[in-house]
Amino acid sequence: MKRRHPFRRIMVGVAATATGVVLLLALKQPGGSSVAGATARGDAGVLPAASAPAASAQASAPASAPGRASGSDAAGTAAGSGGAGARTVVGDAVDTQYGPVQVRITVSGGRITAAEAVKAPDSDAQSQSVTANAVPRLNQSAVAAQNARIDTVSGASYTSEGYRNSLQSALDKAGV
């Protein structure tokens, strides 16, 4: 019977996220420009507030995966899989202080439909939790890397006062 270590599980989740970010940054877009390239355009663009998530998503990769020399040289390995148009991509194993973490994602119709940890420091009890968190987190990371341009923001109802500090207010000011 394994004891559960909440903090460790969190760290594994973070490491998985970092792996996903690294992996996604390495994925190439059809035109040849990388997702990381899209982020760079966002950072230089006219929406500083909206590009902040992209910057933080990138920053989290090296910060939470200290064993990795560089976040941008990861090479995802593409492999065909069952479904029509679906394929799996396996990221490089990332060494963390808790051990190597590796994530495999399934992409179908241009969207991540599944993610699983193929290698985790404690692969039994924790892999489920890593996987449960991985799909949305990977989507989030992918989104953060690509979303330099959003048109509006949906969130818990803000007051007139709350609006002033909101991302929506920044978008309205930018007027793009």
């Binding site: 968190n133 989507n139 979303n147 959003i150 949906s154 818990a156 109802s157 709350g162």
Partner: protein, 258 residues
């Protein structure tokens, strides 16, 4: 003036929040501007009639029994009928009759925004995005709607993409504290979510009403209920920062190029 792409922006403070208009594909500018003015007056009119914060609003007087429904604006009956439908659909988790008053705020803002967008569409605007304090009605497109991360202010949890009509409503305590209560206990939901986003092409009236009802249900019940609702998808962030989505939500999220 619309810019070279035929876009118009406008922000308007009403109902204690701010409404952000983003209109594209403006060809007949005078017609769209007239519709924008009408939509803005409409929002203020809705506030006058439906505000539960104004003791003299029709809804407040109706709630106190000082005014008969027959003497109210026809829109009052329309909204109360929508509320009754939302109450039936949610098995009573959406309710206008809590604590003796009459409170349709769970969907009235969404309904007002949806009507305003309709007014703009009829003026010939090609694409409209109207954000009422965090709840969004889209028309045309393409549009990209960032879903705010309730636990990391200023960051996004995901992005919804739309081409065509879509209502996107988010409920949660991040901005104004917990203002949606469990109608059975009068307390905040026991397993309250950090935020819950509901999207449906049926429009913002329903997205708003369902987000309100589902938020009141708490996490476990909300997920099962939303999964079973046709034409409706949802994305949630739990208090612990975990995320879940209904099985079809990914169809609304931004494409990943891989």
């Amino acid at each position: 003036m619309p810019d070279m792409d035929g876009r118009l922006h406008h922000t308007e403070e009403s109902m204690g929040t701010v409404f952000s208009f983003d209109i594209r594909g403006v060809r007949n500018e005078p017609a769209v501007r007239a519709a924008l003015r009408a939509a803005v007056s409409w929002l203020h009119r809705v506030d006058e009639v439906f505000s539960t914060f104004r003791p003299e609003s029709e809804i407040a007087r109706l709630g106190r029994g000082e005014l008969a429904l027959a003497d109210c604006a026809p829109k009052v009956r329309e909204v109360l009928e929508l509320c009754a439908e939302a109450e039936r659909e949610s098995g009573g988790w959406f309710t206008v009759r809590y604590a003796g008053g009459l409170d349709p705020t769970g969907l009235v803002k969404g309904w007002a925004v949806e009507q305003a967008v309709r007014m703009l569409a009829e003026s010939g605007a090609g694409a409209v995005c109207l954000n009422g304090g965090g709840d969004v009605q889209l028309l045309g497109g393409p549009w990209r709607v960032g879903i705010a991360d309730p636990l990391r202010p200023g960051e996004l949890a995901t992005v919804v993409e739309a081409e065509g009509p879509l209502g996107v409503a988010t409920s949660g305590p991040a901005e104004r504290g917990c203002h949606i209560l469990d109608p059975r206990t009068g307390e905040p939901p026991a397993d309250a979510l950090a935020s819950l986003t509901v999207v449906t092409p049926q429009g913002l009236t329903w997205a708003d009403g369902r987000a309100t009802a589902a938020y009141a249900m708490g996490a476990a019940r909300a997920r099962a209920w939303l999964e079973a609702l046709p034409g409706t998808e949802a994305f949630a962030v739990t208090a612990a920062g975990e995320r879940w989505m209904t099985s079809g939500f990914h169809r609304h999220t931004a494409e990943v190029t891989a």
